[in-house]
């Protein structure tokens, strides 16, 4: 890596761009992209037919789906962001990357996180919070890599040779700052062991923080950096200035000023207070304006260049990406409106919306900027334009199939759930009826996914051939006059140079303060003051606690929700409407975001242990037509009781009222409860040594769900009625 030769030939400085690290990120993004899409296609087929789980523990849907989401977001899109940002930032700032070593270190750290994280997910180490499933060591590593990324952006800016900071760079800066804060706030967790930790927040609090992170990870990881890339690559590819630079400035700053609260639109009709839900709804709808401002600005930049869109694959991808961005950001606010949300929540419509954003906007954008960047930095021309167009059409058709099938499936299932006949009875009382009905849609979606994967493979081949024919050339050297103000004196000491970087210094200081204050502030606030009041809920017994961890390990929350919403059909189908108090000890909260299987909030005591046992070994034996994978290894794997006492101690430190002796004889307590369950199971022919297996722990947890509420209603502490219980 030739460092930048800053030869002071009068004012005119010579420098060259560090495109090597960009090349690495591009290749990494393509590699992981393939893995993510492959996982996506597999889980699509697993939903169409359960046989595609192949009965293997580490390939079942529960663990593969988190791998797909994390790989797609952080590996495929993440690497592409780093490539696009480093490429465009250097050219916009007319300066070499601040520190190439740091960039490369960040690259290898990021790939390590992906590989290690992916493996840990398959092995069942999940944190239980959607899009943040990686355990605490990876969280720390992600934070480090992300800060390195930020320092590189701001450092390059500090050495820039172009006075004006183009709007795209502002988007990159805001991405760095907000994602850093989001990730840190959502990853405050207390480790129990190397690969297990409990979040500090519980129940409703955890839900709000999770979806404040969840939505803004979408907003500030999948959208703001891509808006920045749009403002750079679309004008470059169309050779037209952006439609209205003034509009892009207004668009950016209005987005940044209002650091939004759109998160709660994932929690409408949950036990979140009414006013928080209203705020979430109002501001999600308000978000529609800046998003469409960005889309209009992007599309109108192509005025007068639309004929080129027909010929040039780069423009074809970019234009379609911006259109899908517009569509997704119209569909989103629509779905945030409470009445629409009541139909859409927990159904496949949400999955359709997610993929119109991720594939329509991100995948297409990535393809566009790669086809733009690769010929330039490898100094060659694109191998085949026809192949790129072919990829475009397969991906678009695949995506349309995906979206259409998910809309149909989502709305069908939503309507079937809520259908009441004139006598007030459920038209489809058996949940499985609503599942079987939409399986054909899963097949259509799966083939859509295959098309997208094939399109991606065309790109891989196309890029491979493009790079192959690249002519080796020594690194181009550019020259530009230095900005008199920002020129670092060559001899200044490192600290003075660091101090001379006002922006970088303030950012790092701010982050340090933020992390510091959070770590002290949060535990105190969440644990004592707010949990002391008396509640009818009893904390989880040791066995139930282990059972809950098995529930999280297998990713049951990916298909099952634990939240009964206040509407007649859910009251009839599931039982008492969920109360905020119920989730007071849930660390992490497991409300879930999709009902592929029925809601489990009231499953405690509904079926006997044997039913659950048979259901785990072979779900179809109990509910014919079920698409639930087989979990027979639960019968053979022992539950981990060694860390049980440590888990109880951590929970106690977070305010769960476990007494001292409960913690001391936790293991005996768990064994006793397990033995009770094992005895009942053995009456119907199950061998007794099931007693120390994960199956028993899981059954103990499942039987606890909703049990306290039923008891409370019997004792009259809670009045149960359709509209909601208090």
């Amino acid at each position: 890596m030739s460092t930048e030769q800053v030869s002071h030939q009068g004012e005119m400085e010579q420098f060259s761009y560090d495109d090597k690290v960009v090349k690495k990120y591009i290749l990494a993004s393509l590699f992981w992209g393939f893995a993510a899409l492959l996982a996506g296609v597999t889980i699509a087929f697993q939903l169409s037919s359960w046989k595609f789980n192949f009965g293997l523990e580490w390939l079942t849907f529960g663990r593969l789906r988190p791998l797909h989401t994390n790989a797609a977001i952080f590996a495929f899109v993440g690497n592409a962001i780093f490539a696009g940002v480093f490429y465009s930032l250097q050219r916009l700032a007319k300066a070499r990357l601040f520190n190439s070593f740091m960039a490369n270190f960040q690259f290898w750290l990021w790939q390590l996180i992906i590989a290690g994280g992916g493996l840990s997910l398959l092995l069942g180490y999940s944190h239980g919070k959607e899009y943040a499933e990686l355990e605490w060591p990876f969280d720390i590593a992600i934070a480090i890599a992300w800060v390195l990324f930020g320092v590189n952006i701001l450092g390059t800016l500090w050495k820039r040779r172009e006075k004006h900071i183009y709007v795209a760079i502002w988007f990159y800066i805001s991405t760095f700052v907000t994602v850093a804060v989001l990730h840190i706030v959502n990853s405050i967790e207390i480790p129990v062991s190397l690969m297990k930790s409990y979040p500090v927040y519980a129940g409703v609090q955890d839900a709000l923080v999770q979806w404040w992170y969840g939505h803004n990870a979408v907003a500030f990881f999948l959208t703001t950096p891509f808006l920045g890339l749009m403002y750079y690559f679309v004008p470059k590819a169309a050779n037209r200035p952006v439609y209205s630079y003034r509009l892009s400035i207004i668009h950016f700053w209005s987005l940044i000023f209002l650091y939004i609260w759109a998160g709660p639109h994932h929690l409408l009709y949950s036990t979140l207070p009414e006013w928080a839900q209203t705020v979430g709804m109002v501001f999600s709808v308000a978000l529609w304006a800046p998003s469409w401002g960005g889309m209009i600005n992007g599309l109108l930049t192509l005025r007068g260049a639309w004929d080129k869109v027909r010929r040039d694959p780069v423009l074809k991808f970019l234009a379609t990406a911006v259109t899908f961005y517009g569509m997704a950001t119209f569909e989103g606010p629509l779905m945030s409106i409470k009445s629409v949300n009541h139909l859409a929540h927990f159904t496949d419509w949400v999955v359709g919306h997610v993929h119109s954003g991720t594939i329509g906007w991100n995948y297409m954008m990535v393809a566009g900027i790669f086809y733009f960047m690769i010929p330039r930095i490898w100094n060659t021309t694109l191998y085949s334009v026809k192949l790129a167009n072919l990829q475009f059409w397969t991906a678009t058709i695949g995506l349309l199939m995906y979206m259409m099938s998910m809309w149909t499936a989502g709305i069908t299932q939503g309507l079937m759930w809520r259908a009441l006949d004139d006598g007030g009875r459920l038209v489809y009382p058996q949940f499985i009826e609503t599942v079987v009905k939409i399986i054909p849609m899963y097949w259509v979606r799966a083939f859509g996914g295959v098309l997208i994967l094939i399109g991606f493979m065309f790109m891989l081949y196309n890029i491979f051939k493009t790079i192959q024919q690249a002519k080796k050339e020594e690194e181009p050297v550019y020259q530009a006059p230095a900005l008199s103000s920002a020129k670092p004196e060559a001899h200044a000491g490192t600290h003075r140079k660091l101090e001379g970087m006002p922006m970088v210094f303030t950012i790092l200081a701010l982050l340090a303060i933020l992390v510091g204050s959070l770590i002290e502030l949060v535990p105190t606030l969440t644990s004592h003051k707010y949990l002391a009041q008396k509640t009818f809920m009893k904390p989880y017994s040791p066995l139930e606690l282990v059972g809950r961890d098995v529930y999280i390990k297998e990713g049951c929350y990916v298909c099952h929700s634990q939240l009964v919403r206040p509407s007649p059909d859910e009251y009839i189908r599931y039982g008492t409407v969920s109360l905020a108090e119920e989730h007071v000890y849930d660390r992490p909260f497991q409300w879930g975001s999709r009902r592929i299987g029925p809601d489990l909030a009231r499953v405690g005591g509904k079926y006997n242990h044997m039913w659950h046992y048979k259901h785990m070994i072979d779900p179809r034996a109990v509910t014919p037509g079920s698409i639930m994978p087989v979990y027979d290894w639960l019968e053979t794997k022992k539950y981990d009781h060694k860390t049980l006492r440590k888990k109880m101690k951590v929970m106690a430190s977070l305010g769960v009222p476990y007494s001292e002796d409960e913690i001391d004889n936790a293991i005996e307590n768990a064994k006793a409860q397990a033995m009770g369950i094992a005895n009942e199971l053995s009456e119907s022919g199950v061998s007794k040594d099931i007693a120390d297996k994960e199956m028993v722990a899981l059954i103990a947890y499942l039987q606890k769900l909703g049990a306290d509420v039923k008891q409370a209603i019997k004792d009259g502490k809670v009045i149960d009625k359709a509209g909601g219980a208090e």
Binding site: G10, E11, M12, P241, L258, W275, A276, G304, P481, S484
Partner: protein, 812 residues
Amino acid sequence: MERDNHTYVTESSLACSHCGEKVISEFKNLDDNLHVFCCSGCRAVFNILSSKGLSEYYELKQKGPTFRARSPIKEVQESYRYMDSKEFEEEFANYDSTTKTKSVRFYLEGIHCLACLWLLEKLPEINRDVKSSRLDLSSSVFHVTVDEKSYLSNIAREIAELGYPPHPLSSNADLDALETKENRKDLSRIGVSAFCAMNIMLYSVSLYGGASGAFASKFGWTTFFLSLPVMLYSAIPFYKNAWSTLKKGIPSIDQPVALALIVGTIAGFIELLQGKNETYFDSLSVLVFLLLFSRYILKKAQKKGLDSSLAGSFFGNSQTRRWNPDKGTFEEIYSRFLKKSDLIKVMPGEIFPADGVMTKGETYADLSLLSGESTPQQLNVNQNVFSGTTNLTNPVEMKVDFTSHETRLGKILEKIQTDRSEKSPLLTTVDKFSHKFIISLFILSAIVLAINWILLGASTAISRTLSLIIVTCPCALALATPLALSRSLNLAAKAGIIIKSFDVIERIVRAKKIFFDKTGTLTYGTLSIDTWEDLTKIDVPTKEIIFSLEKQSKHPVGVSIYSQLKEEGTNELPVTDFFEHAGLGVSGTINGQTYQIKKLDQNFKQENLNTVGLFRNDDLLTIIGLKDSLRPEARDLIGKIRKMNKSPYIVSGDNDENVSRIGSELGVNRENLYSNYSPEEKHQLVSSSEDLIMIGDGANDAMALQKSDVGIAVSGSVEVSLRAADVYITTPGIKSISNLMELSSETIKLIKRNLIISIFYNLIGATAASMGFITPLTAAILMPISSLTVLYSTIYGTGWLRRWIKTTEVTL
């Protein structure tokens, strides 16, 4: 380059390889002659670019966007050496000792596309002395930083060679520095108010959504603390404006706004103290943000309208050759640094920079700037010369007596300046109306406050009065008039009609009498061929002889004859030993025969035409009658003026018969004609009557234009007429005057419509607010809606405006 062999091809479909314009007369490139150019200027730039390896310019130009029609490139004559003098650098360059550089700002002509930006910002690579160069496309201002020791003149010449003649902008133009500082302050205020308003809305929506108990009070206090920066920082302009107008006792629209802000904040604070949550911070901060934002947009729109007019007035030649006694040669200095009793040399085609006495040579000068008559006057040794007049034929020398504002022209301009300040801007009808409205608003809100306080208690009283004040805040009223006016100003500027200030439009509509100056306004002002009489037949067609002879003549008559014959496409014959003697005509030999064109004396005059004759060794061949003919569009302009029941008058320095001839042709009745009027007499005539418009030549009718209610300058130099007249028409002829009339009456119609909308809105708003139907927040949202409706009605405009915009493809 040796003599260039340009061949004359009449109409060719080729496009100039530099600027892309259609090539009329083909200039072939010398070395590879496959490039064709429309003029030598383009060819020069093309050669420079290719010699410096910058031919990527053309690749970029063809691909990149162009966003303004380009102006033709003039051959580089100025040497800009005047920029090297000490005084020039003091005033125009500012030094930076740390980097040992100096920076200058130029206004560049001909900036029109991405390639210009690329080329000019590549200057540091072409010229080693240049440290950095930055171009602002919207204002065509080019900021160059160069090494301390380098000469500004060769930087300026280099830029001119690239096809962008530079005009220096004085570096300490505090007007510009002030403007950017003002703009930044506005932006910061808007930014802060936007942030606070949005976040206050966030917490207010939670309160509306039902947050209660501990959360409610916490959110209440958060909104209070968030509203402080808005009330204490962003809203400063409102308090300042309200206070200054209050001191002068004139009501202004900022007073109710300031009142609402103060009352609302205090009331909200008291509510919070009592633990209740009936606060108004959301509506007040939204009000401040929307007001600041709409005023910012309005100011930008207005500035764009006026800007495009003033940018053009930087031209005029800025260098003179002064005799340097010790060096013994003429050296070039910046004309503003001339001092008394300097000896200067004025070349043909240049303007006399100062008053003084001729010391050597004799020439023809165009005194139209002062006397108003276009026919050139003869000047010979120790005759008085006045600044502003143009030297036509030969180089002469003169001794300087008076410079800058002591000259005759300077005195006129100074007089105009003082006149201008007397005629303070009339209070238009709207301002008067809005004052009455504001006073009545105060009274009404006092009454509403009192009644509600007694009947329904303090908090409802306050909230109703607040919403009353906010909803009836006369923003629509205040916005209606300036918006319509600034839009019309903007449209006019785009169509080449530069209107100096708002109230001009209203005064045009009110004017009853319209005075026309004859020469140059109603007529072309230059003599054009009227009759052509060949007395004796000779072998060579007389048209070609005259055409070839007049080609090199600098005399205005010769030039107009040549241009008319050129349009007819007469071909040229080679002329040898051509000679032009001032005032007597031209002579030259064509294939052996010597010909002469001379002014004929009185007796050949047929009904008052001036005539010119072609002689071959003094026997008369042809007589050409020349006439100052009427502009074709003059007749229907007069017709239109009569339709608007305004009466046309003609006043001119010309003699009676000419004036009456033109008067009868246009059908203006006898008693409205005034002839033999000197500029001073015109001034008297105009100031005697009320409500009148004077249309004339910017220079010589300057005083009359200034005195009349509305002065419209049709021709004359930009600088002089812009100072004197209220309106300056850049397009030739008087066609756009009818557009101006139409535009003014339509704008007033538009203003009336906007006023009706805003009054109607205010009436409903006031009643609804005082009866408590709308809360302060809905009021704060309703108010911008009213401004938006007014904005939309202005943009929608009237039928005629829309048609006019389509015809002149004028964009907002």
